[in-house]
């Protein structure tokens, strides 16, 4: 069991309940917070999110959470995991709903799935899909190659040439299904809804944040 406190950022747009339940199931302690001071001091931070990118950024900025995350990310001991929209928010910008800048911790832009690549595939992309990750990934440690995780999204990050370690999945085209740097991590899928595969990944995240 992991005795670890994770701070889950509540800006009104995430399924806080499921993420909290998964962390508690793994033996972690959960603090759900929308308080900028608490978040700025946190060491293990999870940024969930469901909904539209610009309205999420507005909520985050109005609660001063953006600055708090920035402050936390300066410390070498802090680890941040963004889930679904939470991962997208870690990037530079998104074109969703008229467009918005992101938190800018990672160097990528969020755009819609390419309509020509999708063909007859429906959007949103909903359901389990397999994830191809690279050796040496801390998030995917001890997870079988090509494991399945649960996705729900209409916007995606196209593969980049950046320095962050990317995992990819296929839905008409290749897209970024997870990303990691030393301190900042993200999953486009919902580990808290991906049965034991997702629980292992969350356990790995808690392990790297110590």
């Amino acid at each position: 069991m992991i005795r670890k406190k994770a701070t889950i950022v509540d800006y009104g747009m995430g399924n806080i309940h499921s993420v909290s339940a998964a962390i508690r199931h793994l033996g972690g302690d959960v603090k759900v917070s929308s308080n900028a001071i608490e978040i700025g001091e946190a060491e293990t931070i999870i940024l969930p999110g469901v909904g539209s990118f610009p309205s999420a950024m507005r909520s985050i900025q109005s609660l001063s959470i953006g600055d708090a995350l920035q402050e936390a990310s300066q410390r070498s001991s802090t680890r941040i995991l963004g889930i679904c929209l939470g991962m997208q928010l870690l990037g530079t910008s998104s074109t969703e709903d008229g467009g918005s800048e992101g938190l800018g911790f990672l160097d990528f832009n969020v755009t819609e799935f390419g309509s020509s690549a999708l063909g007859a595939l429906p959007v949103p992309h909903i359901g389990f899909n397999s994830v191809e990750f690279k050796d040496g990934s801390a998030l995917f440690g001890d997870i079988e190659p090509e494991s399945d995780f649960y996705f729900v999204h209409s916007y995606r990050i196209a593969p980049t040439q950046g320095t962050a370690l990317e995992a990819h999945s296929l839905y008409g085209e290749k897209f970024v299904s997870a990303v990691e740097t030393e301190r900042v991590f993200g999953t486009q899928f919902h580990p808290e809804k991906s049965q034991t595969n997702g629980l292992k990944l969350l356990a790995n995240f808690l392990e790297v944040s110590r």
Partner: protein
């Protein structure tokens, strides 16, 4: 896309129930389900869980959402909850209690503004339209109010083609609870009626794994749901997943062993 194996719990006035042709029989509460059927283990073998409130008394919604929350606490798969949703706040309270999606039925016929409001706020992927099909001599009739009231196709075609509904949960009233097999014809009927390419989940009638295999061999069926507590609980879903995969159905994989639920390093 991977196919989905879904389990459905039916809830009525404080208890889980079994349904046969939409007539229900009380079986027990969550504690009973856990004790007699090891439900948390069952939940680790399904792609998604659906929990439907079939209570006729609207005041039971509070109790229902507490039940959804208790089930969600130990279920690390997507959860759809619904039945009796009459307002945005009904839906909101289910989302706050652990639902990832809501199941909408009567509003598809009577209240498109509610469907639009929910899709606008939570996204269409969070809206599951539930349709009940009654087989007649000359085709199918849509029915509501526990299969007692026929409904026209017009409003349903309109709302489904509007793109406000993320997927459809289609139940055969005739097959429901019989364990005699599923009715894939419903899906063909539905696909012929609507232009929208939304995923369709077929429910009603599965009594053994082969009953789930037949509809899953049809590419128009995105997933199958069973509410059969007797045949698909305990090790039932585990064995069903194995046999469906052996028959070539593309289902997601994950390991289920207690040791996997805990971190490998201390």
């Amino acid at each position: 896309m991977k196919r989905r194996l879904i389990f459905t719990l039916l809830y009525e006035d404080g208890h889980f129930v079994l349904s046969r042709n939409f007539r229900t029989q009380k079986v027990g509460n969550l504690g009973w389900l856990q004790k007699n059927y090891d439900f948390s283990k069952v939940a680790s073998y399904l792609d998604e869980l659906v929990i439907i409130n079939v209570s006729s008394d609207p005041s039971t919604l509070d109790q229902f959402k507490e039940t959804v929350q208790a089930v969600a606490e130990g279920c690390f798969a997507p959860i759809t909850a619904g039945g009796g949703i009459c307002s945005e706040s009904d839906a909101h309270s289910l989302f706050r209690h652990g639902a990832d999606k809501v199941l909408i039925n009567r509003a598809l016929y009577e209240d498109h503004r509610l469907v639009e409001a929910l899709a606008g706020r939570y996204g269409r992927q969070a809206i599951v339209g539930s349709l009940d099909f009654k087989k007649q001599v000359d085709g199918y009739t849509l029915v509501s109010h526990r299969a007692t009231r026929p409904q026209p196709w017009g409003p349903v075609e309109q709302i489904l083609n509007s793109g406000m509904v993320g997927e459809i949960y289609a139940t055969s009233v005739l097959q429901d609870g019989t364990g005699q097999g599923m009715d894939s014809e419903i899906v063909a009927e539905l696909r012929s009626r609507i232009r929208s390419r939304v995923p369709v989940i077929l429910a009603g009638g599965a009594g053994k794994p082969e009953h789930l295999l037949e509809p899953l061999q049809n590419p128009a069926v995105s997933g199958v749901a069973t509410a059969n507590l007797l045949n698909f609980i305990g090790d039932g879903l585990k064995r069903t997943r194995q046999s469906l995969r052996a028959a070539g159905i593309d289902l997601a994989r994950w390991d289920v062993a207690e040791s996997d639920l805990k971190p490998s390093r201390s």
